[in-house]
Symmetry: C2
Subunit: 455 residues, 2 copies
């Protein structure tokens, strides 16, 4: 026998059970996006490299999968081609790559189709992305993102709606989460007040690690990066900041009073917490000064969501970016978005054993196949079941009883119907409940009644 | 301003309207697959080239998109890299390609996961595939396939179930179609009887063109391929074959009586038509001797579906293959499958203007935004609407009335609610129906009643 076939490192097959569970997550998120008036789009898996490169930093550029101009050359490169003049191979490099995230293709979409779009444009997009990362546990080279963004409106109501969506999604998934909120302008204000406005990136990168490396760790890193003692002393009380969100904001108001940008950010944070106070979103919302988020395109509020029950990194994140479409030539369009991490949400639900017990349309009933006569009797009954929305199967060949029952068992089908000569004569069927092994005799009408989805 | 961004040739963006219509097609097909107990799987976009190559013929191999080992090299190839020793570039060719169809990855899946699968395995799969074809009208480099296959059962009941599924799908989509049926063994029997059993491929390729080139055209092609006059004379009456399916089958029974393989095929065709006679599938089923289907892996019954209302090539096709998993080392497993062509079905529905009028969860109501006080009043009403499953939006900023109404108009939102100071005092809102322009004053309870989805 040939070697067992396999798939590329970092990619996955999804089995029927995994698919059902993943669909549960995607459908839940999609339904809530729709209730809020978000519209679906899809973009192609391949984008021009000019669209993709230069948007994710040098490291990101390396992780974009490039695609060859396959149509132009023989599938299996000959030795001569591989060892011949390199220029010939150079021609094979096409200008295409696989999409790395959904945000850059979305920005490209908005610019390309702007004349057809009604702004503000509330879009959602659920598609896979590809990254040539080194595969490791929980990190894949192909994974789905579920994004919702509003582009063309700078009002904070958009941020609040996205927080509401987060609350509704995790409530529907029956998961307790905490939403941590911060603001790039608050961070910029702090950098200004402590006298290092031009060191914003170094500053946020270090502060981001507070929980991990502790206060001294943060100070050490900043010191190594050449931040002076004066700045560090001024920063010091912030790293100790405790208490309620209100207390933290009051402290910051005082701290930031000389920074215009800091005050702007703080006012927005306050307004979001006011909204939330008046209209609770059903989940914990916390101000977290150490939240920075890596992506450089954020310019306003930023947020991250964590499970309160399982330790697992962030399961959703997002923020406002003031000029994403500028890179494609459309300036001054503000956007804000969130992205749900379906794989991590899957892992959390799995660990908590909180997936719903059965899929909506899993097969409910298997008819045992005793042969041609019985099959002809069963086919119309099957049709009636399906018309009622009851997923049902007939074993496709008159195999041994044991084999058929084993199939029902392996598939987790809850009911098996036995229709033999006697049953046909009497106009009934025998229904066996697989779990209990109990059997009852029913007419077709009674069967339909018994298995109808409402039950 | 920069050049307007674009996407690679042969790929497409899908707008919200297109997405809604495509989802209608996919959801309809998926629901019916599920009612028949088919289970979903997904496979990765990238497969190893060893999995993909050699399965689609030489022409197919050329059309597989190959992917570079991007992680290993700088994103933008330097001049030196392009002109340096070719071997360096050769290293960049990874062993991966984008999937070309869903059947080969499915066969690979079955072999790889055979110990976890309950056979017969009824699986469906709805995913995009990629082909480096020359793009032209109606032919794309990225398109979706919707496949259902049963693997591990050779009974004809499986063929019949797939024909039932075809009937149910097109009934649900309100499209009149004709299913044309043939059998590879009948074709093999004819080749045998006319004395050219080893020329089966040439024979079927020529006969496949009967409708296009006419009887003389077929004869010419066969003559050019060196088929002798004796064989052609014996073939002659078959190219004239007219009448009902029953008459055609009777003629063939006589014609094929010396061919064992021909009789086997004919018996299967007869049995399928008997099933259909007893249990009509709700669509026309015809025997078509000229149907051959290009893919070489078919070995039993084959079918194709055409619209009876629009001229558009086949919109669904399939057949039985006796040894697909053999290429991956698992011998003797028979399978049968069908594939719906979502793009062509889309075009047929479009031409006939037969998409449903509105999506299930399109936004029903837009609240006009008059400012902060009104917003705070509206937010809880929005929550109540969404809890009832009514998709509703609040315009995210207090823009000019005209701009907000224009947004509702462009988005096709049927109702707009106006809540100003007076309405808040009186505890009501003004509901405007966009089409007619008529307005009425309602309480929140009356609004919920008015817009509930049941209506």
């Amino acid at each position: 026998m040939a070697d067992k076939p396999s798939i590329p490192k970092g990619t996955r097959d999804f089995s029927p059970l995994e698919m059902t569970r993943r669909s549960y997550i995607f459908d839940t998120i999609r339904e809530i996006f729709k209730l809020h008036g978000f519209l679906p789009i899809e973009t192609p898996a391949m984008e021009n490299l000019t669209t993709l490169l230069g948007k994710y930093g040098d490291e990101g550029d390396k992780l974009v999968f490039k695609v060859l101009n396959s149509g132009d050359f023989k599938a299996k490169l000959s030795r001569e081609e591989l060892e011949g003049p390199a220029a010939r191979l150079g021609n094979l490099i096409s200008g295409k790559g696989l999409r790395y995230d959904l945000t850059v293709p979305f920005a490209r979409y908005v610019v390309q189709h702007r004349s057809e779009i009604a702004f503000p444009f509330k879009r959602y997009q659920i598609q896979p992305v590809w990254r040539a990362d080194r595969p490791q546990r929980g990190r894949y080279r192909e994974f789905y993102q579920c994004d919702a963004d509003v582009i063309g409106s700078s009002d904070l109501l958009n941020e609040f709606e996205l927080i509401q969506i987060i609350g509704e999604v995790f409530e529907a998934l029956r998961l307790s989460v905490e939403v941590r909120l911060n603001h790039r302008k608050v961070l910029a204000g702090i950098a200004e007040v402590i006298g290092i406005p031009e060191r914003m990136t170094d500053f946020t990168v270090a502060v981001d690690k507070l929980e991990k490396v502790g206060r001294e760790g943060v100070m050490d890193e900043l010191r190594q990066k050449g931040i002076g003692q004066g700045s560090l002393s001024r920063l010091d009380p912030l790293l100790d900041l405790e208490g309620s969100t209100r207390e933290k904001l009051d402290f910051l108001e005082d701290f930031l009073h000389t920074s215009e940008i800091g005050n702007e950010g703080l006012a927005e944070v306050r307004r979001l917490f006011e909204y939330e106070g008046d209209h609770p979103v059903g989940t914990r919302l916390e101000f977290d000064l150490t939240l920075a988020r890596g992506l450089n395109y954020y310019t306003g509020s930023i947020l991250e969501v964590n499970s309160q029950e399982v330790s697992m990194g962030s399961i959703c994140g997002g923020g406002r970016y003031d000029d994403l479409t500028g890179i494609f030539g459309l300036e001054g369009v503000s956007g804000v978005g969130i992205s749900f991490g379906a794989d991590r949400i899957y892992d959390v639900l799995q660990q908590l054993d909180r997936f719903p017990e059965e899929g909506e349309l899993d097969t409910r009933l298997l008819f045992v196949n005793f042969g041609e006569t019985e099959v002809r009797h069963i086919l119309p009954i099957l049709g009636r079941l399906r018309k009622r929305g009851i997923a049902a199967e007939l074993y496709p060949e008159p195999a041994k009883m044991k084999k058929q029952m084993n199939y029902a068992h392996q598939r987790g089908i809850p009911f098996v119907a036995l229709v033999g000569e006697q049953e046909i004569r009497e106009g009934i069927l025998t229904l066996r409940e697989m779990d209990s092994g109990s059997q009852e005799k029913l007419t077709t009408d009674e069967l339909l009644e018994r298995l109808s989805p409402a039950k």
